[in-house]
């Protein structure tokens, strides 16, 4: 449920994603190969794929190329002091495609190549979305600090 909560816009969509992911897991349980990885990783991948399918249904991924970008500075103390629910709400305010790329890269550890493959976009587009996500988060965290 925690994984679905990162990609969903609210808890209801997260529950919907989780339900569909479990149905898919039950129906393809025979294809699980324990030699390729553990069951937790397999189920996590199912949930992420289902989350990305939901995001694709409600948004379109435009092709925007970016090779290098300046990384914005964010004070860690601000994040440490901020509530987890507020951080999640901040991430959910990102545009859907930027939201998906940021969560996949920063939280679930996907590379730009893997993100590009999963979302059918180029690596440059994935980098552009990540850069946009970092800028937006830095601005919002700065706004929280100023309050």
């Amino acid at each position: 449920m925690t994984i679905a909560m990162r990609y969903a816009v609210d808890e209801y969509e997260a529950a919907d994603i989780l339900g569909h992911a479990f149905v898919k897991m039950f129906r393809s349980i025979h294809s699980f190969d324990a030699t390729k990885g553990n069951f937790h990783g397999w189920l996590k991948k199912i949930i992420i794929n289902e989350s990305l399918d939901h995001i694709k249904q409600r948004s379109r991924f435009t092709s925007l190329e970016l090779d290098t970008a300046e990384e914005p500075f964010v004070n860690n103390s601000i994040i440490e002091k901020t509530d987890a629910a507020a951080i999640l709400q901040l991430v959910r305010q990102l545009p859907p495609a930027t939201h998906a790329v940021f969560v996949m890269f920063a939280i679930d550890g996907y590379s730009h190549k893997e993100i590009a493959s999963q979302l059918n976009i180029s690596e440059g587009t994935s980098k552009w979305h990540l850069s946009e996500a970092r800028k937006t988060i830095q601005q919002k965290l700065t706004a929280i600090k100023d309050q």
């Binding site: 925690t2 569909h20 898919k24 988060i137």
Partner: protein
């Protein structure tokens, strides 16, 4: 750009601490409902975690259903064709006996009326059409019928309809001079004719 920043690590740690809403019952109800719907739900087209399309219900389900549907259609077509074929063959055989009475020519309107009445009272299987006497077998004395040959059956004749009235009595015609009408009394005295009553004028000598 290609590696997560330290504050992103902190964000990831924070997001793992997000409390999970208590929606387990609704999620399990949704899962149960989707599983009860069968293997042909739209969600079956999604990829498996390995990135392939080898979900069990995706290809096998619709393919089997399509073949089964074609097989069912084929069976229906074959059964319909066989039924139609035998139905077409049986119909003339059933109707043939019924057409025989209709082929008998009727003499006139009165004969037709009699046949219809008989058909209504007697079952169709035992109907015997009465023929007019004129249409029957006629044995001619001077022909081969006297020598034991089979009687000659004449073709149907057109009969005068007046001969069919049962109460009709022919009125005899009598000649007024030569034949006496039956049932009438004789007038006068026997042996005396009208000539005996000749009146003549006698001379009176008084």
């Amino acid at each position: 750009m290609n590696t997560p920043t330290p504050y992103e690590q902190l964000i990831a740690d924070k997001l793992d601490q997000v409390p999970v809403p208590d929606m387990a019952d609704s999620v399990w109800a949704s899962i149960g409902m989707q599983l009860d719907m069968g293997p042909d739900t739209p969600d079956q087209g999604d990829k498996t975690p390995d990135g392939g399309d080898d979900a069990p219900g995706k290809k096998a389900g619709p393919g089997f259903k399509g073949k089964g549907w074609y097989g069912f259609l084929g069976v229906v077509v074959v059964v319909t064709t066989v039924w139609w074929y035998y139905h077409q063959k049986v119909v003339p055989a059933v109707k043939a006996p019924a057409a025989v009475p209709a082929a008998v020519p009727t003499a006139d309107s009165s004969t037709r009326i009699d046949n219809r009445v008989e058909k209504e009272n007697i079952p169709a299987a035992s109907v015997v059409v009465k023929k007019d006497s004129a249409q029957g077998t006629i044995a001619r004395p001077d022909t081969a019928s006297q020598l034991g040959a089979p009687p000659v059956t004449l073709p149907p004749m057109k009969v005068d309809s007046s001969s069919l009235y049962k109460d009709w009595v022919p009125v005899p015609f009598f000649d007024s001079l030569g034949v006496r009408r039956p049932g009438r009394k004789l007038r006068g005295v026997k042996g005396i004719t009208d000539d005996d009553y000749k009146i003549s004028a006698e001379k009176n000598h008084h």
